[in-house]
Symmetry: C2
Subunit: 309 residues, 2 copies
């Protein structure tokens, strides 16, 4: 394998657990994400030179990017190595797919530098290795959107069945990240293992409505379907002012509102940029008043996924 080639890629932040679509639906954002520079080197090692933005381990065995690249190298019988630097744009623990952005960037970059042996869709399982390290659970609902762009449906994990749904043109997302800590593992542990059949039926009726709304660009239907009667009532307790934020953005004209990933970030959908900005002002006001630091983002659904810079 020829070495000395280098590449810079961008992988976006993403929202998983889109209300009723818990564990099966996600989408990436525009503008916010991780940048990764990678170079192929003759020695068969992985060297993480720098990580900027947030404090994460440089040891490739302990960093999602190292795990992703190692698995790829093994499967593709790569005998050379890679050095890389990361600029994190997605804060770890934000519920906006921080580990997924890095994992997607790593999988995409190593594939590019080795002559693209795999299609982007086939990189998902490598990026999932990173998720396994980060949260103990090899979930795909952040890495698949981060890699592919658009809404991504994970119909099944066994076998893995990933379906891309074209996002409506006027659909905007506002995400607020209040700076408090919620661990993915904790937020998973508080979920009940058994749920009432009646609630499950309500949930999959809403899932069907949400998918129909997305595929037919029916914004009202998207809004009506954004109901999570199972996970949100439990998890929202961990997020300060969740109910207030939700009722405030709904009054301001948002289509719907839910927890981003396992929180603490909260996302909303709006039709059009103006409405999304109005929602942004409402969310900002609540956390300013509360005295909690936060970041806030407004974006259309990212349709490109991970890209060469």
């Amino acid at each position: 394998m020829e070495t000395g080639k280098e590449i810079s890629v961008f992988a976006p932040a993403s929202v998983a657990n889109v209300t009723c679509g818990f564990d099966i639906l996600g989408f990436p954002l525009n503008g916010t994400g991780d940048k990764l520079w990678m170079k192929s080197i003759p020695e068969p090692v992985i060297k993480i030179k720098t990580i900027k933005g947030f404090d994460l381990p440089l040891d490739p065995e302990k960093n999602v990017v190292g795990v992703v690249i190692k698995k790829f190298m093994q499967d593709m019988h790569i005998k050379t190595g890679f050095e890389l630097s990361i600029r994190k744009g997605v804060k770890p623990g934000s519920g906006m797919g921080s580990s997924a952005a890095s994992a997607a960037a790593a999988a995409f970059a190593v594939n590019e530098l080795t002559g693209k042996p795999l299609a982007t869709k086939d990189l998902i399982k490598y990026a999932m290795e990173g998720e396994k390290l980060a949260s103990g659970n090899a979930h795909a609902d952040n890495v698949a959107p981060a890699l592919l762009g658009n809404f991504i449906l994970i119909r099944s994990y066994d076998p893995l069945d990933i379906i891309q749904l074209d996002a409506p043109e006027e659909l905007y997302c506002t995400v607020v990240h209040p700076h408090i800590q919620v661990k993915t593992e904790d937020s998973r542990m508080i979920l009940k293992k058994q749920i009432p059949l009646k609630k499950a039926i309500e949930q999959w009726g809403n899932v069907a409505g949400l998918i129909t709304g997305i595929l037919t660009s029916d914004y009202e239907l998207i809004g009506r379907s954004m109901k999570d009667v199972i996970i949100e009532p439990v998890r929202s307790i961990l997020i300060p002012k969740f109910d207030e934020v939700k009722s405030s953005v709904m009054k301001a004209g948002a289509l719907g509102c839910g927890i981003s990933g396992s929180g603490p970030s909260i996302f909303t959908f709006s039709q059009g940029e103006k409405n999304a900005a109005k929602v942004q002002r409402k969310m900002s006001h609540i956390y300013k008043t509360l005295g909690v630091d936060f970041d806030i983002y407004v974006s259309r659904i990212n349709k490109q996924g991970t890209q060469v810079l």
Copy 2:
């Protein structure tokens, strides 16, 4: 109200509980259904003159059509009456929407004879009154397809939110009705009230896949998504040879297979009429060998719903 007008209508048989879409998805068939003749009369009464095909009560208080018409008359302040005759084509207890066909026909006919005060969609709640009488449960997943045609998604019951999904052109359904008795009430009672969250997530992933498959005419995806991990494993026990029928039709090239309504009928989807006919032969062979009488139907998804004859 002018009296003496008469009308004949046809309301189709229908399949509800479309595998993973338990309680939220249904569709009607072509060719099989109930015919209803109705005439407006001066006396403010409902007279069921004859019911042909199957033995059902002529007392309008005990027959779904009587209940549907009575509710409509009350709400619309109709001071005249109706006499009617029914030719049942859908066998009660078949799991093919027998009561729904009669209820849909009655709602449609009385609306026509009174100058169409309501849109067809608004007749659903009247037809649901018939379902309440028939099964103790005012479900909409047979009456809405029977009235409107096409795939019908019941996103929510409270408020009632009905969404019509255009059926793929090459999608054919084969339904076999083995002549054994399964009561809707019994088949509902054996369901577990609590289910594992893990199974529920699997189910709504498949619901999302099925809806996507329908809306994008992706036959393979429809097939992959036709998995019911919650209701079918429990209810299929009540249907003789269900597993054998299912494995046989899948080998014969069916896209998927499930219980029609609450059974005992079994439906399959196939791409194209030829495949549906092949499935028909397989199903027929199994019940012939078993010595169980049966009816069998092959049809595209009915797109018209209830029609004036």
